[in-house]
Structure formats: structure tokens, C-alpha cells
């Protein structure tokens, strides 16, 4: 039932709004609204009841295991939520004077310093509100760098085929042509293809390391030399930073610019699709172009650096300073874990992934890159199973829902057929992993004995399989009270 179906004309909930309409109204008549917007008229209780019940229809980290590759679904500490929501933080206006926000700004400054250290970069801007915006900022800075050096012939960005879709989409949004390079059998970038692709048109290379194939790109140093030698810059997509936190710094791998997804590595909540935050770090050479605002600490006082302080900045990317509340949560998370906790994250995330890979392999699942260590994730391919039984990766994914597990990422990366990208994250216990393995075994058995049942999954969810073809064909994006 939609909230609108609980609505009844002229039902009023006065306690949430002023008790009367005011007398004063200077709005000229021709600018006044005449129609009533379609907002529901329901009681506070029915609103609470409706959305409480809706919430119960979601899977979430707080209720289920989410082995969702490339998404780093780890526990979101409850203290990060409540401390970031202290009333003074919530009520502070973004344009309030800096001296009324020194507590907040201290957190932001320290977060910048911590992220610089973790990534090995020269400076960090916190403004980016999501990974894709981080990429946009990074590539915009690469463009600004080349332009500042009069190097205007560089029109191409090189991207491995395993990359997230955001990488090529970002390059295009920044006015670049995308040169895709292939992956070799072991999951590494094809170095010959890279060498062939670089040249005077190369503006830069975007790389995720460990890659979305779940393996560490061993020749990253050589890639850096090749791209730099050709005059290009290196962009690090920090989607998988969780896998190497405290082990390797992107700066040490030779990257010039990096974004890190705080909603992955730093455990800010995914919130059903956002908000994220993706601070951007740069090496010395890109420092002038970093977007503002940035927090400075001068003579014991924190202040915003703006366009006046940074005349070469690419500018602003949000009305204020990005997703401040998300940044606070990440700050609290890092302070809770501390330096020693950073190492542990990557260690236990890697341990969990390799354990799960080993156990699934023992069950008979085919590992896409069987000769490699898993980073914090790994890929199972269902190709052989599908060829033999008709059961697809998606069928298995839906069947896992029935068993109380969120599905792994399916059909990404695109180059592995019928793939499941599995990332358990460090916060899951061995018992939970073992329960997941047991469920995978049950499904293997079901595929053998009743493949049609598996193909028709899910069975035990509030809904059977959703018809998304119909959703796209018969577009119904807003509710029509007329039916």
C-alpha cells in the first residue's frame, strides 16, 4: 500500500507544523500556487507505521550478510551515527562564521591529515560527495594540469576493461575519449596493450588496484613509469582501498591523484544508495588545482581555504563543503580504529576473502582467477554451471536471498561470464562465512536436483522475481491518483 493510499483529504497533523496560517502574505497573486501538491495527508502514527514497515522489507547490514563485491559492505558503527548527529553539529549553518565552528573544523582538518597519510598524497580535499564525483574532480584536475602546461593535445584517457562504469563515463563527462585496454588471463592489465595505447594523446590512465577482478595489479610501478614517460598522469580509483589499507599507499605506487570512497573503506553508511563521500588526494604536482574549500590550520585557528587562497583551483563541486556529516562519521571511525586498526581492516578483509574463496573452491565452484590471491574480493564464474544446467549467476543470487543472504555482485566485471563478485569485508565472523558456504552448498545441491526451482527464485521473499522489463517498458515513475 502506498502512503498516498493512506491519505484522506483534510486530515491534519498540526503538531508538526505551525497551528494556523499566518496573517501576513505579500506574495503577488500571479506568483501564488493554486493547485495542491500531491503530498499525503496521514497522521504521524500512520507515517511512522508505514515507513517502519517499509524499512522491514529491506535487507541491510544490520540484518543480513552482504557479500557484495566492490561495495565493501561492512558494519557501520552506531557511535559514528550518534556522535555525528550531536545537536550542535546538526544545527550549525554552513555559512556560520568560522569561529563558531572550530570544533567541527578541527575534525575536518584532522581527517584531511589522516587521509593524506593513509594515501601517501601531498594534499586532500574533502569536497567530493561520491566516488563518481571524486573521479570527475580527479580527471578535471588532470585536464587543468595539462592545460596549465600548454599541453592541449592530450585527448585520451586509458582505462582497463575491468574498470567500474564510472571510469569511462567520467572521462567522457570531462570531454575525453576513452581508450579501453584488455586484461590478460591472470587478471592483470595487458602491458603490451598499455604500451601500444600510450602516446602524445594520453592525458592519463585510470586504474583500480586491487582491481575489480579481485587481484593486485603487480606491475603497477611499471605502468606508472610507462604512463608518466608518455606525459600522462595516473588516477587511482580508491574503490578497493579497503584491501590494502595500511599496507601500500597509492602515492607510493606512483599515482598522481586518488579518490577514496568513505562509504566503503571508512564505513560510512550506504543509506540505501547514498550519501557517499569521496575525498580526493593529489601528489605535489596537482596540488594547485585541488577543489576548494579546504581546511587550513593557522596560528591555532581553523579556516577555509577558498579561491582567493588557491587561484588555480578547478573550483567548487558543491554548494558548501560536500557531505560534511558523512565526513564526520568517517573521522569518528578512523579515530575509533586508529593506526593499528587501519592495518587490521585490510588484513582481515583479505583473510575473509581468501578463506571464502578456498571454501567455495572446495565445494566445486569455479574461481575466475584460480592462481591468484584474492584481495578483499574474488570472482566465481557460473559459466560451466549455466552451460550444463541453465542456472545463471542471477538465479543463484536470487536463491541466496531466500536463504537470508544478500546476493553477491552479479555480472560485473563484464569480462567474466556469469560472474559473482564476492566481498565479505572484515567485520563478518567465520561463523557467518561458514553459514554462507553452507547455503552455497545447499544451492549447488538444489541445482543438481531441482534446477527449475532455483531458476524460479526467489521463493521466500515478500515478492517473487520482479519484472524489470515491464518496469522499463511501461514506465510508471509517479503515482497517479486517478489510477
Amino acid at each position: 500500500m502506498l502512503i498516498f493510499e493512506h491519505s484522506r483529504k483534510n486530515r491534519r497533523n498540526y503538531s508538526q507544523a505551525p497551528a494556523t496560517r499566518p496573517a501576513k502574505n505579500n506574495i503577488p497573486d500571479h506568483l501564488k500556487r493554486k493547485s495542491t501538491p500531491l503530498l499525503p495527508e496521514v497522521s504521524e502514527m500512520d507515517t511512522v507505521r508505514h515507513y517502519t514497515r517499509l524499512s522491514q522489507k529491506n535487507f541491510s547490514i544490520d540484518t543480513e550478510f552482504y557479500p557484495l563485491g566492490s561495495c565493501t559492505m561492512k558494519y557501520n558503527p552506531r557511535a559514528c551515527n550518534s556522535l555525528a548527529m550531536l545537536p550542535q553539529f546538526l544545527s550549525r549553518h554552513p555559512l556560520a562564521p568560522e569561529d563558531t565552528g572550530q570544533g567541527f573544523l578541527a575534525c575536518m582538518y584532522e581527517l584531511q591529515e589522516i587521509l593524506k597519510d593513509i594515501t601517501g598524497m601531498a594534499a586532500v580535499s574533502l569536497t567530493s560527495m561520491a566516488g563518481a564525483q571524486g573521479e570527475l574532480i580527479g580527471i578535471t584536475m588532470i585536464r587543468a594540469y595539462h592545460e596549465a602546461h600548454g599541453d592541449t593535445g592530450r585527448t585520451e584517457i586509458i582505462i582497463p576493461d575491468a574498470a567500474h562504469g564510472t571510469n569511462p563515463a567520467t572521462a567522457v563527462m570531462c570531454g575525453y575519449k576513452v581508450i579501453e585496454i584488455p586484461t590478460n588471463r591472470d587478471g592483470d592489465v595487458d602491458m603490451d596493450a598499455l604500451k601500444a595505447a600510450v602516446g602524445p594523446k594520453t592525458a592519463g590512465l585510470m586504474l583500480t588496484n586491487p582491481s575489480t577482478l579481485g587481484v593486485f595489479e603487480k606491475k603497477v610501478a611499471e605502468m606508472s613509469r610507462i604512463v608518466h614517460a608518455a606525459g600522462g598522469l595516473l588516477y587511482y580509483d580508491g574503490a578497493n582501498l579497503n584491501a590494502v589499507l595500511g599496507k601500500v599507499k597509492p602515492g607510493d605506487m606512483g599515482f598522481d591523484v586518488i579518490h577514496m570512497n568513505l562509504h566503503k573503506t571508512f564505513s560510512t553508511p550506504h543509506g540505501g544508495g547514498g550519501p557517499g563521500a569521496a575525498p580526493v588526494g593529489v601528489a605535489e604536482r596537482l596540488l594547485p588545482y585541488l577543489p576548494v574549500p579546504i581546511v587550513a590550520h593557522e596560528q591555532g585557528v581553523y579556516r577555509w581555504l577558498t579561491e582567493e587562497d588557491r587561484p588555480q583551483t578547478i573550483g567548487r563541486l558543491s554548494a558548501h563543503m560536500g557531505n560534511a556529516g558523512v565526513l564526520l562519521r568517517a573521522y569518528i571511525y578512523v579515530r575509533l580504529l586508529g593506526a593499528e586498526g587501519m592495518h587490521r581492516i585490510s588484513e582481515y578483509a583479505t583473510l575473509n576473502a581468501n578463506y571464502l574463496m578456498a571454501e567455495l573452491r572446495k565445494l566445486g565452484f569455479e574461481i575466475a582467477y584460480p592462481n591468484r590471491r584474492a584481495s578483499h574480493e574474488f570472482i566465481v564464474t557460473m559459466k560451466e554451471i549455466k552451460d550444463r544446467t541453465g542456472v545463471t549467476a542471477m538465479n543463484l543470487a536470487k536463491r541466496l536471498l531466500d536463504k537470508g543472504f544478500h546476493a553477491p555482485t552479479t555480472y560485473f566485471p563484464l569480462l567474466v561470464p556469469e560472474c559473482l563478485l564476492i566481498e565479505p569485508a572484515e567485520t563478518e565472523s567465520k561463523e557467518t562465512l561458514d553459514r554462507f558456504v553452507a547455503a552455497m552448498k545447499e544451492i549447488l545441491d538444489e541445482i543438481a536436483t531441482q534446477p527449475d526451482m532455483v531458476k524460479a527464485a526467489p521463493h521466500d521473499m515478500p515478492l517473487r522475481k520482479i519484472d524489470d522489463v515491464k518496469a522499463a517498458r511501461e514506465l510508471d515513475l509517479v503515482w497517479d491518483p486517478a489510477g
Binding site: F4, L83, K249, P275, P458
Partner: protein, 453 residues
Amino acid sequence: MPFIPHTEEDVAEMLTSIGARSIDELFDEIPAELKTGKLTQVPPGLSEMEISRLMYERAQQDGFYLSFIGAGAYEHHIPAAVWQITTRGEFYSSYTPYQAEASQGTLQLLYEYQTMMASLAGMDVSNASLYDGASALAEAALMAVRQHRTSRRILVPQTVHPVYRSVMRTIVRNQAIEVVEVPYDPATGQVAIDKLDQFAQEEFAALIIPQPNFFGVLEQVDALTDWAHDKQSLAVAVVNPTSLAMLKPPGEWGRRGADIAVGEGQPLGIPLSSGGPYFGFMTCKQELVRQMPGRIIGRTTDLEGKEGFALTLQAREQHIRRSKATSNICTNQGLMVTAATIYMSLLGPEGLYRVAAHSHANTVALVEQLEKLPGVKKAFHSPFFHEAALQLSVPADKVLNRLKAQGVLGGVLLENHYPDLKNTLLVCATETKTAEDLDKYTEVLRQALAASA
């Protein structure tokens, strides 16, 4: 180990299964020369008790003020239910609803949001949110250019929020899109129509139309919309969602209505929070839906014909279309939209109207009171919604400092963005302000003016 549940026995068993001797061995594919990961700037971990105390102290340091600042972010009462529900684990810690069957809660809520937001804007459809108002405007500009096909120029009045213009420039510049600015009329604070008419013969993909504009002033939106349509440009509205309860919605502007309406969703139940997270909303006409960036939810059925919801039109998106996608956008501001949907549901049409009307009435009353003070006059002679520009006869920065010392944040200085507007404050009094608050502001301003004279 905070948040890591492994016991020593677990680790031993897991390593045995893997066939490795140590966790360290699992990192053996990383070249040794790259392993330089010593962290020197990350302090040792704190217990939850310790970080709690630190954060309470920092929050106390920032304190509470009686604030009359608006300028794009607005203090409104947020019903307690909004965030108590929004932070439930099932909303807070869930992922993007790609697995529709396991995400019907979020999906249905987003469909309800789309319905509410489209109706509020008087438009046909809505997406499920963008990052914030400024970036939503930039995306609207890109969308207009894609739709228009021939022009890569956007016409933007200087009455649009200065930072929105700045963000838009940062984003569209990469695609060689030109942003052309139209000055404001210093008497009315509205778009200078005579200046606009100088562009009458040039081609533009879109005209951006703010309502209310950055000065709080109401623009002649019908005329502006028709002006754009007359020259085959798109009309892109930038609107305050609270004001839409009172003001003619973009879909009804001019003869045909705006084509795209975007804005900052923060006023709909999102705390000020030093600037974020907020959310951008984007609504448009049906015919533009395939050009719209961001996630969109559709209502459909399951295999048994039961109503359900799913992400749709994913073929526009980067995870499917990669370099040919409409936008690179992936993450949106789902949790903020959750809050906004609950907020709109709690208020309903009449509640939102009252919030808007009291915000308007309070600002009108405040301006009337302040104008009576010697040395204060309105900068513009135009109707306004819930913000107004006031020109002082003395240095305004000093006045603001004096107010602050009395616990009052008196507004923002327009001079920072509009060099011609010397000593001019932009002030805002939402429904949160009582008559006593307005009197307090009047009194401390009177004192500050006297002290500065």
C-alpha cells in the same frame, strides 16, 4: 579488535583452509618495494567512550546561536520522527536497491518520493536524487545541452546562487559548454530584462530561472519561461522546495511550463549540518526522462502479478552504458531522500504550506521592523519569499561581529559575491523564529548600529 570478530582460533583455522602460514602471506603478490605503508599521522585508536567525550567537547565548543542565515541552506523544524525512522538500520545500513526483491522498502519509498517531488514541482517525473542543489543545476545544464543538440551555451542570471554558478562552471567547462551570465537589475534585484533582451538573437540551450532568487526576490518566472521557449531554449527552474507550497510551481510557469526543475532538497527535513549531506532534486517533463541522470524507480509487478518496485531506465546509467552513459553519477543521496519523504508525509500539503507561509511572514515582519531602524534600508523593491537584502549605513562586517557576540548570527554579506552590494546583509527568518526572536534581532542590531555609527 574493534569491529573485527575473529578469535585466534578462527584465524588459525582459516589460514589452514587457505593453505597459508600467516595473514601477511596473503599479501605476497604486492611487490615488496611498494609496502611502505607506515602510518605516522593516524593517532592510536580510541575507545567509544573516549571518542564520545572528544566529540561532545567539540560540539560544545561550537555551541548554539540564534541564526538568521539562509543563502541556500535553511533552518526548519524537523519532526523527531523523521530521523528516528531514517536511521533505522534497515534504511541506514542498506545498499543501493539493485536486488529489488530484497529492497522493496527503499524502492517503494523512493517511488513515493518521486511522486511527491514531481507533484510539488508541478512536473511529470522525478529522479531519486542527485548530490545537492548546485550539482543538480550543473546536471540540468548538461541535460539541456544534450536535449537541445545545437547549442552548447547556457544563459544564467546573476540572481542564481553564486556558488551554484561556480559549481556549474566547474562541471560543464570540461565539455566545452559556455556559461553566459545575465546581470541583475540593481533596483529590483531581479534579472535585468533589458540585459537579457540583448541576447535575444543568440542561441542558447537553456535559460536558468531561479525562484526565489539568491536575494530572496521573486522573479517574473512566466515571462522568463516564455522568453526561453520563444527562442527554442529550455527553461530550467532552480527552486526552493519549501516555497513550492506557496508559489506557482515550475510546471505551470508561462505558457508551457519549465522543462526541468531542480533545487536543493535540504529544507525538506535535512539538518543544516555545516553543509551536508543534503540532496539535489531533479524533475522534468516526461519527454526528457531518458536524458535525466541518476537513479529512477519504476512501479511494476513480480512474476505473480503482485505490485513491486525496481530501478528502471538503467540503460542510461554508467554501470550499464559505461562511456555512453547519460552521466557518470552512481551514488545518490538515498538516506536524505528517505528523510525528506518522511518529512513531506508528516507535514502534508497544508503543513508544508504553513511552514512556507510562516517563513515568509516572519521575514516580512523582520524586514518591516528592521527598516524602521535608522541606517537600515531594503536593497531591492520587489516581493520576496523568506529572505531579503538589507543595506546598512555602516560597515556590515563589524555589525555582524557585534551581533555574534550577542549570540545572533545576523545573515551573510552579499559583498563577497556581489562587489556592488556594499554593506548589504542577506537575512532570513524561517518558521522557527518567534516574535521574541525578531525583537531580539531588532534590538541587537539597533545597538550594533549605534555602536558602529
